[in-house]
């Protein structure tokens, strides 16, 4: 059994973001990067299947981007993936979801993966398109926003998260692609011995030009910070002063505190 996981490296979302000089994306200066949160669930699910099946399945993890994304791949290897593929692309932020999906599909085409996991969306772009597009390009079924997963023989049973806490249970046969929602499992922290072991695992680098054969279908016009909405008050300073200030606002504006 061959399992494939697609991951992305994204900035820490608690960062302060500025628009880049070019005006199309965020400025990377001073940002700390990490594995996209949704993708941690994808990696964990792949590794759990490997463990459930006595280590027999082979797990490949792929990431597209500049040199720094190797750190995310190394984390996935330390979590238990077998080999990494780095699609070297310093301009990956310019690629639209269609192109990213095309790159993934081009890599997968002759590999016969049985099961592909991606995150439901990336935390930075958040298009939630790439997984579904890749499945469509590969001609395999796909379940999105999955919060429950089990595999019996050749049959996948997945729980899709719908609005209001309702879940839809769907079944499909392998090969299939699943996009992982937060809460699907509990992603593990890599242990030190596993981090050391991961250093010896194969990490293949491919230039993006070898895999990209499509033009973009959407492009960014301009990027800008959101307009400050509403008349919200911002309180800053010493904690005890803040408590007094907030209490006086509460007394004035609400009937909750008298």
């Amino acid at each position: 059994m061959k399992i494939f996981v697609c991951i992305k490296q994204v900035p820490d979302m608690a960062s302060r973001f500025k628009v880049s000089k070019e005006g199309l994306w965020y400025d990377e200066t001073d940002l700390a990067f990490r594995m996209n949160e949704y993708d941690e669930f994808a990696v964990e699910q792949a590794v759990q299947i490997k463990e459930q099946q006595g280590s027999a399945p082979d797990v490949t993890v792929l990431s597209i981007g500049p040199e720094r994304v190797k750190e995310a791949i190394k984390k996935a290897l330390a979590m238990g993936c077998d080999r990494g593929v780095h699609v070297q692309d310093n301009d990956s932020f310019r690629k639209d979801p269609w192109q990213i999906a095309s790159i993934i599909a081009a890599f997968c085409r002759d590999k016969n993966f049985d099961l592909i996991f991606t995150g439901f969306q990336s935390q930075d772009r958040g298009s939630s398109q790439v997984g579904v597009l890749a499945a469509e390009l590969l001609g395999i079924p796909c379940a999105t926003t999955v919060v429950g997963f089990s595999l019996e023989g050749n049959t996948v049973t997945a729980k899709r998260e719908l609005e209001g806490g309702v879940k839809a249970i769907v079944k499909t046969k392998l090969p299939a692609l699943v996009t992982c929602q937060l809460g699907l499992n509990t992603p593990r922290y890599p242990t030190l011995p596993n981090i050391m072991k991961a250093k010896k695992k194969e990490l293949l680098t491919l230039p993006v030009a070898e895999l990209l054969q499509t033009k973009e279908l959407t492009s960014t016009g301009t990027a800008y910070p959101p307009a400050k909405k509403g008349s919200g008050i911002v309180l800053e300073g010493d904690v005890n002063d803040l408590v007094e200030k907030l209490l006086s606002v509460l007394k004035e504006k609400t009937k909750v505190v008298k």
Binding site: E136, P141, E163
Partner: protein, 304 residues
Amino acid sequence: MKALLVCEFREGKLLDTTYELAAFADRLGAEKAMVLVGSESAVPAIDGKLYLAEGAKYGEYNPDAHKAVVLEAVKKEDPDCIVFLHSSYGWDLAPRVAAALRAGQVSEITDLRDGKFEVGFCNAKLRRTVVPQSGKMVLTIQSGAFSAAAAQGKAQIEKIDVSAGEKRLEFAGYEPAQKKEVDLASADVIVSAGRGVGKKENVAIIAALAKALGGELGASRPVVDAGWVDHGRQVGTTGQVVSPKLYIACGISGAIQHLAGMKKSEFIIAINKDKDAPIGEVADVLVVADVLQFVPALTARLQK
């Protein structure tokens, strides 16, 4: 400009979100047509042609079958854009339609700006405009971003019947939402814990403030997923939608799914270290502070 609106239907009911799609089409100044896999007894009250495929034949949402129906409506109507809500239905189906049409997709549109589509990125801390480069466009709009149009028209029904094809994904039933431990919707005051509380033990600090204010404890999704707070207290699209007199968000950054569940609260206070957190966009007061320092101080002062 012609827009094909893809209406949502679940368990015998047309979802109200259809009227948000209509409002978006009106903003675009587009002529409206609709497609629905559903029933003649529950069609949208919107002027325009409605391509109706009998739900009984296709069952509950099935990606292959619904894609075939939407593509048939696209063939008949030849729209410039195909519009979905960015929901569990829309984000699942839209890319399948886009791939089949080789059309560019713009996801989770929040507004129109200079005739271009505005979307958020980096957890809505930045915005950008997106320009499709293809003939047809597939669009998904953010839930709640476009106020629903009035239900005062009449759709002209044209039935379509296409082969549902091979259903590679089989629908095997719904699992109902977990029983609510508390009915947050009836609380006057809700104090919610977010990821910023750091660990499970610290939830007690937030619960103490809720108690001091005579309110209920709520939580954001990551806190519930981590098992720190029971799902019955989750506020947001996949939890409860609330509008108390006072909502205090403690260490919650403000993902759109959370905002959609609480932004109609009468008065909103956000306590967050991050001055740029998107929760600030809906807050009446943003207290820039560490929740673990500020909340105990506020609780102690209230108890005096």
